[in-house]
Subunit: 313 residues, 6 copies
């Protein structure tokens, strides 16, 4: 079966897709139509259902899987699907939600195990304890949430996968530059984005919560660390340092960190985070283009296009 | 007795002053000397003690009151005092620390009473309760701390005096623009800078604490509100809104707010804060210059000079 | 009768509307059609007349009131009206232009009277005289023009209404901060935007004049004050100060003020102006959304969305 | 006689100089001393009179010519003069103020004649008339004032010399690009900086006037043009265009123009102005250094250093 | 025959045009259509061929001349052509490619001759030699390439025409400001954009090459000069200076110059370049509008609109 | 022997030091004195020789080793040395220049060997060949030059040491993110700063050359690669890509890269470079302060101070 990513204008489809978003419209002739965002593991596509009954409208709701017959066209330079016929999937179709969601390349168990080996490397007892408590408290969300609603790591388990690859970087840097404190850097990485479990709505059809909009994941996690420390009577400068790492991890005030990095691990955490996000975006965008071609402009990479060399892999 | 503010190059002094800061130096001839920052209610002045014994050096420490005979000179365009003779004040001198500290024009009781009338005007029960609890918890610091280590309201009780005049503004604005919510705006104003009781070291010889440097007063107070709400089982959107007001009160990310204002009271709180700080700086700097003259460049007012009209009061 | 503000996709209409703007187009099939911006007191809406004769085209001109039968549809996320049938209103319909124009919540008489009480509070004779002369010279425009062609106070009498609420703020601030000079601040507020009577084309279908584009309202009013002073032999620093207030009232060079504020009343005028504009935009945008919802992004508020709390009024 | 420009640390002097600025100080030993800025045609130098009587202090005032015996030393990387002996010049010395002031390389008559040939090339009668009237009204100041208190053309007649070289550029550009309107461009150039005759205090010891600080030369000249037009009943778009040229000639809002250029001659005026100022600064700074060397950092040239090639003239 | 520039919505056409770009689309009904950008000497226009066979699609390729019958319509405020009928031009039609390409107002011979007179004025032998060698090496491209793919001088021979008018400016400036070194300035102007012969794909249907995207014309020409100097054993500071001029000619780091101007001729080259580009854009955009009107917003002129005066030519 | 780094005001010294810079001054009393910058492996210090003969002045020149008896004093908050007595070191003293220069922690042989193992890992033959040729051509300079005249890696062999630690980072990243091309990234890292061997004057008393100032190391190395490729007939996209990496390695136009990164290895090279420079600065500054203290403001780290935790190593 062809995936959304590989569809081209002119293709016909007869596939199952997940409805990600759905909005109703009215044509110039006054008839209702539906605009859907359909999804599979490989990506998503805008689709139009130009002829639709009131009963059908009620079926076309987010998180529903439908079988679609249709055509892929080019609309103002972007792919669009014209839905000629559809029906809602039934049990007998034997299609599962998870097959339509993009997910991290590691399983939850693999990630959980790998992260735990880093937790054990946190030699400072206070930092290890806070990290463990919070990992436990939000275990489910931590291993299923995406790291963002768009841009990078915006897939199921994106949050924990982001942490895993960041920790791998941190380990290498601690070996190259022994003045880095492993305990502080590892605990900072593991917790830095944990506030997203409250800032975002969940792993599917992810949006921002009111709490996310009004406080932001940075203040949320700073506060969580503070609460955990108080409840478990963990005191000392380490709590301040750990909060400082999460507060400053965006690296600049204008990116929403209320404090600039003032300890070296805070500065390095910011860089590791940035590299990991960029590598994930490179992977996502470069796989869509052929050698010798350019990606589309990538907003989160300062709106640059990237070139995929002809001669190198 | 002439105050520091009114001293001019050429004046001789024989007064009591408070040592605010003291650092030791060595002259080109290899002898020790002391640089002091002396203070009275009206301001401060750099002073040099060119001849000083080791015993005297040990006496010249911050928060000590000394009696000084000396001369005021002009050193590269700034006033400096040359200390010819000094002694540490003794009980019989009957001089008191508070007489050397600049303070708010209202007494603690006056401010406390006025703020309480606004607290009673907070109709939302949750917001009033959080406000009351925090005012009580930090009562002493709240009514004695300055609002900053320099720039504006950097005097004893500056923090609470700043709140009082902001509340007066808020009251007027709520009358002119009835869509403003009084409960949210008043509670936000009363608490917005409360984190400074942990960010700053205290009312005298104020510096930044490590906690202040690593977290900042914005994150500190956001966390305090959250803790209080948890401990007293206060739940609901109001807690989020109040935290949002304090998080966003600097108005711009680059000024250290991790979130931009997203509710109208947050936006207005930022403006009220800004106006009050500016009025205080106008008062402080304009009283130093004559009519028809310009103030020095004021860093916190975008490094502008201000003109004091000849013809208007 | 439902207002434009409350119309929703799917609604049918049979109402009178004012044509605000009208442009002719040609369909892909080569036939003419008209795009109209229709208006009532509550707002405006884009409308399409897909079938239209040459005679009808000549009727569909700005500032005409028409009766429309049509349907409201959703076009790319925005409301649009499909005009099925229309006719130009006639005298018997008994509909009046002023019923289709948004206007200030106070009458011209109320505003004129209130502003005059402030004029009487201008104790400095020169400032009062200049203010009176200019208010008289442009009385009609002053009390009917909007304060802008879009963004804030863009309604009939918006200019004078903006001044009224700013004066109310100024009065409160002069009480809280007695170092403010009432004469200078009041006269500055009353005149600061008066240049708009030449910069803008008028109260209806407001556009920028060539003079407005080439000079701007700031230079226009600075020049008017200067002319009035010369003609009436009013001399002295006060004239400079008043011109300085209007020249600097945008607060920053990049906002089009050729001088930054250098007297305290100039700085405060800028803040009062800013608060009043923002309050007006909050009122306009928040009334369109339900509690617990966000406004659309508001360009003039740094493109932010604002949240309307669930729990507070 | 050696000029200030060519003095080097180690040199002794016995020359006449003009006192440009003078401030009194007090040494660490409590004795008075004077700091002078001495000037000749070639530049200025800071000078110290360490031993000075009260009577002498009264003689050392700006715009006085004195004869100095002294030594040039290096103080923190800058030349300074130590005054060992001095006396005020008397009539018999036969030294004249104008011999100590840097001036334009053309005489007033030469400049006045050259500018008049351009005035005659202004074909548009209204523009020519306004230009003539203003040139006449401020003839004396126009041909003696500097163009700035520092940076570029900060010498006697700098204002008119700046205009002359700009007009030469304009003439060349009008030939190369015939779409430029000569009348508008010439009149704009002649008047663009005329406001400086009120913004600055005069040709010697130039400072900013209160009017200059509060209004700025841009608003002053815009207003002058407007007054002249009114008094002489000159009406029409040309008056607007000419005012637009002077209002926009700084080219950017952040440089103090309240309007960006909107007609092509306004844009080009800004460029001509910029080139002429830069050429003058190149001339002033490069003549001070040897081939193969760099100038000091030049603030008004974005703080850059410039290199004087070894191999080219 | 009417040119594209003068076409208006409502016009019918029956003309020859050059296909500049062509992309295929599919209508909502699933049928193919073509979007063309058609060109003549005066400009270009978007055109739609709604009904098109597969054979026709193969004919509609860039650099083909076709004869079109169609209608001009207004599509969302921009002119669009609806192609009702077309055929590919044949030899008998006697239409030539060059008649459809906008070109410089001077012939190649005229430009080549004029540039050569400036080359002869380069008195420094090394600079003249490098200039001659590179002019010879890339003679063909130099006199046919445009100076850009869009914005300014984006027509056949635009590159050399841009150089010609810049040299005329340079000559005038060297006369007005004799401290400018003619040899360096002339050679710098002649070579500054020569890297575009590798950065751009050619005179027709111009795009960026991979080399252009990865290196940019500034680094390309710097390298060419260096190679030529090495191959011909031309050594000395002049080579550095010439490379500095081309490296710094964008004037600011953020415009892609790796070095800011550090010699006066580099600074002036940047200004001459800027003026010439702006004059070309004024000419192009102002000729499209009537007196008393504004141009559209011009992106490369900081998105400003320009006004064409009523009263002046 | 105590090192410069550990000297404190009040200390006496009787040590050998290297003269790094020397400038002559004249005291207020008109006598000559010398200001020296003395250096040892640990850092440098300003020193004053207040009494000095003309013969002695001639001895006190950069790169001379002298034996000094003197006192360390505090001058305006900075350490300064007062030289009471000195003599130039002679052969018998047996002191060597290299003992006074800070150097990389690895020997040239160690670095050369380690870099060569990475060269062997460059699988692409063209990239390996260019890298080898350039490493050989500039072998001596490459392994002795610093990476900068100040800020980071400003010590002997700093250039190659910077490359070694960057390569270690690159190796780790290529393992974590296999989509990175090792050949391109390694060759880019090895060559990225090689232009500094021409931009800087050498390993001791490093300044910028004229070539460095006018062209910059980025353009110099881009050109070197191009020359080598031409001379050895190495063609193909790889040469472009390698040049792109060095051209874009500053990451932003405003940091002097004429092109922004457009291939993923270019982006990552920029990050690796940045991390390595920051780690080196952390090491240098944090070792100077005690636990619980802050470093001074570090200009190259956005003028931030960094905190050295009490509780963590």
């Amino acid at each position: 079966m062809r995936t959304i990513e590989t569809l081209k204008p002119g293709d016909s489809v007869d596939h199952y897709f997940l409805i990600h978003r759905a909005t109703q419209g009215v044509t110039a002739q006054g008839k209702p139509y539906m605009t859907l965002y359909l999804r599979d593991k490989s990506g998503d596509i805008e689709a139009k259902v130009w002829t639709v009954t009131n009963d059908e409208i009620k079926m076309l709701i987010p998180e529903t899987i439908i079988r679609v017959k249709g055509d892929v066209i080019d609309y103002r330079g972007r792919k669009q699907m014209k839905v000629n016929q559809f029906r809602v999937a039934v049990e007998e179709d034997n299609v599962k939600l998870e097959n339509f969601l993009e997910a991290a390349p590691l399983t939850i168990d693999e990630m959980s195990e790998e992260i735990m080996t880093y937790v054990l490397d946190i030699e400072n007892a206070k930092l290890q304890r806070i990290t463990r408590i919070l990992l436990k408290k939000y275990h489910h969300e931590y291993y299923t949430f995406p790291a963002a609603s768009s841009h990078h790591h915006n897939f199921v388990s994106g949050l924990s996968y982001h942490v895993v690859t960041m920790l791998r970087q941190a380990k290498a840097l601690c070996e190259i530059y022994p003045i880095l404190n492993k305990s502080l850097l590892y605990s900072g990485i593991i917790l830095h984005d944990l506030g997203k479990v409250k800032e975002l709505s969940g792993p599917v059809a992810t949006t921002y919560t009111v709490e996310g909009n009004l406080l932001g994941h940075i203040s949320i996690i700073s506060d969580e660390i503070s609460q955990v420390a108080k409840e478990h009577n963990i005191e000392g400068e380490e709590v301040l340092l750990l909060r400082h790492l999460v507060l400053s991890h965006h690296g600049k005030l204008e990116y929403g960190s209320p404090k600039l990095p003032m300890v070296k691990e805070a500065e390095i955490l910011h860089f590791i985070d940035n590299i990991d996000a960029r590598m994930m975006m490179f992977e996502k965008h470069l796989k869509k283009v052929d050698k010798g071609q350019y990606t589309e402009r990538i907003f989160a990479l300062e709106n640059r296009q990237f070139y995929k060399p002809e001669t190198l892999d």
